[in-house]
Symmetry: C2
Subunit: 339 residues, 2 copies
């Protein structure tokens, strides 16, 4: 069992810097495309055997130091009782967005084993196969709320901010319901066998610092606090959150994810005893090998003072990335970080 990733999460000494890649089980892999070609995205998410297959692919092909459950942050939202559709090339759609308290009241706080049992089954099956740690995950409440309010993805989050600014009570009510759902969902993943838990706040970066503090941060703090009983490392990734870093650290998460917009050395200086995960620009995987190696070397060097470093990209790997470049990146990280 390779536990380098878990040690780094806890800030313990490791023989080398572990690496995994956000969206490592994804469209850039022909092996994934083959599985995905037979089913819809939602069917894939709800079929444990297929989830296991695609989760294992990058572990075998790239040699990463952790696996992440194949699923989607919107799965528990659908379980709350709102229809979810994925349209090819358009992304997720919630055809019944939440616009008022009555809409919100119709949503339930789902029992994770009853309503998302396929996720827990995937985790149980994966633990029998894996020789590296398994990361479970969920979306952060603010990010989840944007999908429910906008009815899908958004460019500017007009409806979300409109609700925040003109009906904060409704917004907070929604955040409480999503927060409780997320906590139960992650606790169930821990019980099923997840060995670390990542909270993805993909859209935190659209908030002004004072709004993040009021409308998003308290709910992440609540979840991290409620997950302490699991004893698992918690990773919080506030995407595009360079100005939110100190607040992200205040959640009590063991690891903070960084996107590529920040120098990781600056992040080390700004946070205290917390591990950092990141932060190569995903598109830098296109660099010629020698330049890629040099760039990875600079990140490893800059991260040296960190209380634990897990190498990763600053965002999900792009679908047009050649898999051999991702494989090379994994090898460079391992080679350059040998202690």
């Amino acid at each position: 069992m390779n536990d380098t990733f878990l040690k780094a999460c806890r800030g313990e000494e490791t023989d080398y810097t572990p690496i995994w890649i956000m969206r490592q089980a994804g469209r850039y892999l022909p092996e994934y495309q083959k599985v995905r070609g037979k089913v819809t995205f939602l069917e894939l998410c709800k079929t444990p055997e297929l989830c296991v297959e695609v989760t294992l692919q990058p572990v075998d092909i790239l040699g990463v130091d952790a696996a992440i459950l194949f699923s989607d942050i919107l799965i528990p939202l659908e379980a709350m009782g709102t229809p979810l559709e994925f349209h090819e090339g358009r992304g997720p759609v919630f055809p019944e967005p939440i616009q008022n308290q009555a809409d919100l009241d119709r949503l339930i706080i789902p029992d994770p084993d009853e309503h998302t049992g396929f996720v827990m089954e995937t985790i149980r099956l994966l633990r029998k196969e894996l020789q590296v740690p398994l990361i479970g995950f969920a979306g952060a409440p603010f990010t989840c709320a944007t999908y429910l309010i906008e009815g899908g993805s958004s460019k500017v989050f007009w409806e979300t901010k409109k609700m925040m600014y003109t009906n904060p009570e409704l917004f907070h009510n929604m955040m409480e319901k999503i927060t409780r759902t997320t906590t139960l969902y992650l606790l169930a993943q821990a019980k099923a066998g997840a060995q670390a838990l990542q909270i993805f706040d993909s859209w935190a970066g659209v908030l002004a610092p004072e709004d993040f503090k009021t409308f998003a941060l308290p709910y992440v703090q609540q979840i991290v606090s409620d997950l302490q009983e699991t004893g698992l490392p918690i990773i919080y990734f506030a995407n595009n959150g360079a100005t939110l870093l100190e607040m992200a650290a205040s959640t009590g998460a063991d690891v903070l994810g960084l996107d590529w917009r920040i120098n990781i050395g600056d992040a080390v200086r700004r946070v205290g005893k917390v591990a950092l995960q990141g932060n190569l620009d995903p598109f830098a995987l296109l660099l010629p090998k020698e330049k890629l190696k040099a760039r990875i070397g600079r990140i490893l060097e800059d991260a040296k003072g960190a209380h634990g470093h897990i190498f990763n990209l600053g965002h999900g790997i792009h679908q047009f990335t050649p898999p051999e470049q991702a494989k090379a990146a994994v090898e460079f990280v391992h080679e350059l970080s040998q202690r």
Copy 2:
């Protein structure tokens, strides 16, 4: 003549904090919609009399302390010889994106008076009408390059970064050509009567700091340096550029624009003797009046140590914003900042 804006740009004492609003001549104003309803967007940009009319509207309606030339950052790129189309609801399209050196060689460095005379004529006409300073502007070279390479707007800038990482020589050649075009374009605006010049780096925030330093910053530094002879205040706005702030200051610009993601007090502490412009979240204009006033008050308070502060939004005003909220914001800024 109200010169409060120009004084603030230079870090001089003012009686109150001046304000203007990015995209203040825009779709949120029924008066603008009326003009725009009669012509296409490009026709509007190329008809000085209509540009004058819409440029003046927010000065009269909102009472802002500066006017900004109505135009588009893509105008000088079209003048370089590449076709430009605007499709309703889809944004700008360059149907012949730059993919290789031959494509680039076909572009010219246009004579701004000959190829964009309508812009200079607009400036001359506006100066006869205005009682507040007139801001001219252009896109920063990196931002302009993304449009030429992607063939329009982009979400992830795959093609741009692909060129940067796999063909840096071509990328730098393109940046040099755009930089020279931009310098000549802004010098012509100064000669026509612009009283301050803003450089919009709308997409700077997609770059890792080391890439910004290599691929974008030197060209902005070149432009700012070449504009010194005009004696006009230069404003550089690197959107989503919280981690690039010190480098932005190194351009030599007199004023740095800030988006809403950063606390302006933190920005004051990080930059030296440079004025700051910003930075209310545009959607915060939806706040009830009392809360809007309090929020504006906090920004004014946080900005107090700045070497000059020009109030603005952190991004362009959104098309669904009620104009009376924008008007209220202008009044609050003036009222709360009286010295």
